[in-house]
């Protein structure tokens, strides 16, 4: 089918741009119509026609008690972060690349919309979602902190590259703006000791904003930035300092330089250890007992571009087959 035929079929719901034809729905209903047109013409969304969620670019609601906000999927996270500050909220510390993404890209892409929570866990930044499935039906998940009401259907969106469902709005978990920040700088006799120290502190409840690590001469230096409530930051600093001596850690002096490459990967802790052993300086974000988002020369899941799915490709192709 030619692009002019597609343009005609989509009518005012699409626009031409130098890099191709964009469908620009302004509502879930319009997106459903777009998908129906594409399905009828055997066209896949994202190939001949790309999707713009530019119309979903508003901070729609702020729920101050539950620390959540309802945001359009087209909002860029850095812009959303700025919009949150007058409400004394933050999304928490996101990696530099993540901040350039839209809400949709962060949720649907390889970041899978995950954020760290105390005790070294990860949880979706979205507490509920409004999405459209490939067949045009709407998927709205319930606004509740946790559920045992069947499978978590938001997993059809998170990390699924928009191939099963397309998110239009998300209610996001925020944090209060930090009252205090503190950098704790420690050095350890080995990479393993440094990373053991990090994991022990995470399991204790310490939830760092970010960290930087490098092997300097024969020791591994770790700079951990803490942010949050005044006494919470003091507690987290104490946790780190409490764990360090048992692993041969001691206070360190000079600050580390930033990493040479800004490319981000999601890495397991063994992958972080290997990179540090090779002399890389790494910035670590989203620290959890699973691993971290790493800026610097580390090997892991690349976060700049879609990668082959380990699982679930059959799900997208077979079950929810449609124009996504």
């Amino acid at each position: 089918m030619s692009s002019s035929e597609l343009r005609h079929a989509l009518g005012p719901m699409c626009v031409d741009s130098p890099d191709g034809l964009y469908a620009c729905p302004r509502s879930a209903r319009e997106l459903t119509e777009v998908l129906a047109v594409l399905r009828a013409h055997g066209v896949a969304l994202g190939r001949e026609v790309k999707l713009s969620r530019g119309a979903f670019d508003r901070l729609e609601a702020v729920e101050p008690k539950s620390c959540t906000v309802l945001a359009g999927a087209g909002l860029v996270l850095a812009d959303l972060e700025r919009l949150l500050h007058p409400h004394a909220f933050t999304l928490g510390t996101l990696s530099p690349h993540a901040l350039t993404l839209t809400v949709a890209e962060f949720l649907e892409g390889p970041y899978a919309g995950l954020k760290p929570v105390p005790v070294g866990r990860l949880e979706p930044i979205s507490i509920s979602l409004e999405a459209v499935l490939a067949d045009g039906r709407q998927l709205k998940t319930h606004f509740s902190p946790r559920s045992a009401a069947g499978p978590d259907l938001s997993a059809l969106v998170l990390g699924a590259h928009g191939r099963i469902a397309v998110v239009l709005k998300a209610r996001l978990r925020c944090l209060p703006l930090p009252e205090a920040r503190q950098v704790v700088r420690l050095s350890f006799p080995s990479v393993e000791a440094a990373l053991d120290g990090v994991r022990a502190a995470l399991a204790d409840g310490c939830c760092p904003a970010r960290a930087r690590a490098q092997k300097v001469q024969q020791r591994t230096v770790l700079e951990v930035e803490l942010a949050g409530a005044l006494d919470g930051v003091a507690r987290d600093a104490q946790s780190l300092q409490h764990r360090a001596p048992t692993l041969g850690g001691r206070p360190a002096g000079e600050a580390l330089h930033p990493p040479a490459t800004p490319h981000e990967h999601e890495c397991s802790w063994p992958a972080v250890a290997r990179a540090l052993d090779h002399g890389e300086v790494l910035d670590l974000y989203r620290l959890s007992l699973h691993g971290a988002i790493v800026a610097g020369g580390a090997g892991g899941l690349g976060l700049d571009a879609p990668a082959r799915w380990a699982h679930g490709a059959g799900l997208a192709a077979t079950v929810l087959g449609g124009p996504l």
Partner: protein, 457 residues
């Protein structure tokens, strides 16, 4: 009585699970994955007959990987066995549901279970790194651990209550046994004050493992007495408690529980709401968090009761489930239901459910499993009805309570699951999203043999 299955099988390996599902597919027989049967929503009822796939022989526990802080446990491992084994090596899962003596790892995964310490260590879905399962197609699936690309299929299977797959194994996160614990109880002037204290506590970054706020009548029942530890078996109990008290209860139940409106109104005289907190982990940090919580609670007008209420709760935390049978013996009925809601809605859900059920049963509530965004509400209702009308009364209470909770902003379930009891409510709450659930069903179980009827599938 629940309808029985046509037969029960006890596979010992994943291959045997696969073989059973293969036979069931060929013969179009329903397969009901079964753990230890602690579910309270009818999730394992064999409503269409078929094969009960009892997984308790899949009971192997792997060694703890101390570096990665993980353990592999098969689906049939009993909860208490797992925690005991981990504790012997200095570790814990931190998952201690009330059903721990009669629930399995597979059951926890199937129903998205929560333990009493979930406010710190998370629900089961937070503890899982990957799962192994046999799908309704008969294929085996092992989900990847992070980092991976693509959707998290584990989260699509967890909570599926046997309708998509039978779990066979899980890799779970473990934590060192707590070095220290700090216990504390507080009395607040009102429920609303207590809820505000929990909310502010989580906003300040505190993560107690146990958070339980009892509403005024539950507070009165919890009381101040130390827990009673019985060393006598029920058959050896004195005749007074064995025969006379139950007989008295049978006479009194219709006069009291049969008039719940009067009793519910009487509870308006009670206002005090008790909060129980336990902090655990690294000893100094637990003590520090306890001190921070004390400052915060006192700022909100709470009276500190010291450690005793929380210690008492810990000592008797599994008792309540065993007390219910006495209510049934007395000719009354009792049940619990739990939901979750964001902080904006929690108090309204509490009030609306109480108002809706007040005319039909006596209602208690406690709030637990807290998060930065909200918490779980756990209602207990006790009632009685004229002979022959018990079931009708019981079912109508369920409908009324769940409907009131949902219309006030609660979800369908926080940790008991859906089963048959809440299936209709789940389907209604999903709206068009129910088609996504149905599509998952068609993909993972195209013949529709896995636990038919549950979740409304």
């Amino acid at each position: 009585m629940p309808p029985p299955p046509d037969l029960v099988v006890w596979p010992s390996t994943e291959e045997e699970v696969q073989a059973v599902i293969a036979v069931a597919r060929r013969r179009k027989l329903p397969v009901i994955p079964y753990g230890a049967g602690s579910g309270v929503c009818g999730g394992t009822w064999a409503t269409h007959g078929g094969v009960a796939l009892d997984l308790k022989r899949l009971d192997r526990i792997g060694p703890v990987d101390a570096t990665a802080r993980t353990v592999d446990a098969e689906a049939g491992v009993m909860g208490e066995t797992l925690e005991r084994r981990l504790a012997s090596e200095g570790w814990q899962l931190g998952h201690t549901p009330s059903s721990i003596y009669m629930s399995t790892v597979g059951g926890w995964l199937a129903a998205r279970s929560a333990g009493q310490l979930s406010s710190r260590w998370g629900k089961i879905e937070d503890m899982v790194l990957s799962v192994r399962a046999v799908l309704g197609t008969g294929e085996r699936l092992e989900t990847p651990e992070r980092p991976f690309s693509g959707p998290d299929v584990a989260q699509l299977l967890i909570g599926s209550e046997g309708t998509l797959c039978a779990f066979t194994r899980a890799r779970l996160r473990v934590f060192p046994l707590p070095e220290g614990r700090a216990f504390h109880g507080y009395d607040f002037k009102t429920v609303a004050d207590g809820l505000e204290a929990i909310r502010v506590m989580f906003r300040a970054g505190l993560r107690p493992s146990v958070v339980r706020l009892y509403d005024p009548f539950d507070t009165a029942i919890v009381g101040d007495k130390p827990p009673h530890v019985s060393t006598t078996s029920p058959s050896q109990a004195p005749a007074l408690s064995r025969e006379l008290l139950p007989a008295l209860f049978r006479v009194l139940a219709p006069q009291t529980l049969g008039r719940p409106g009067l009793m519910n109104r009487a509870t308006h005289l009670l206002r005090k709401s008790r909060l129980v907190l336990v902090f655990e982990g690294e000893a100094a940090r637990a003590a520090d968090e306890d001190a921070a919580a004390r400052t915060l609670c006192q700022r909100l007008g709470a009276v500190s009761l010291g450690p005793q209420p929380a210690e008492k709760w810990l000592a008797s935390r599994y008792d309540v489930s065993y007390r219910m049978s006495k209510v049934f013996e007395g000719g009354a009925f009792a049940d619990t239901f739990e939901v979750a809601a964001p902080w904006e809605r929690v108090y309204e859900v509490y009030q609306k459910v109480r108002e809706a059920v007040a005319a039909h049963a006596f209602v208690l509530c406690h709030f637990s499993h807290a998060y930065l965004e909200g918490c779980s509400l756990y209602f207990s209702f006790v009632g009685a009805a004229p002979l022959g009308q018990e079931r009708e009364r019981y079912e109508s209470i369920w409908r009324i309570a769940l409907s009131a909770a949902q219309s006030a902003g609660a979800n369908v379930s926080h940790h008991h699951g859906v089963g048959l009891l809440k299936a209709r409510a789940l389907q209604e709450s999903l709206g068009e999203g129910r088609h996504a659930l149905k599509m998952l069903k068609d993909f993972f179980d195209p013949d529709g043999i896995m636990n038919p009827g549950k979740l409304g599938l």
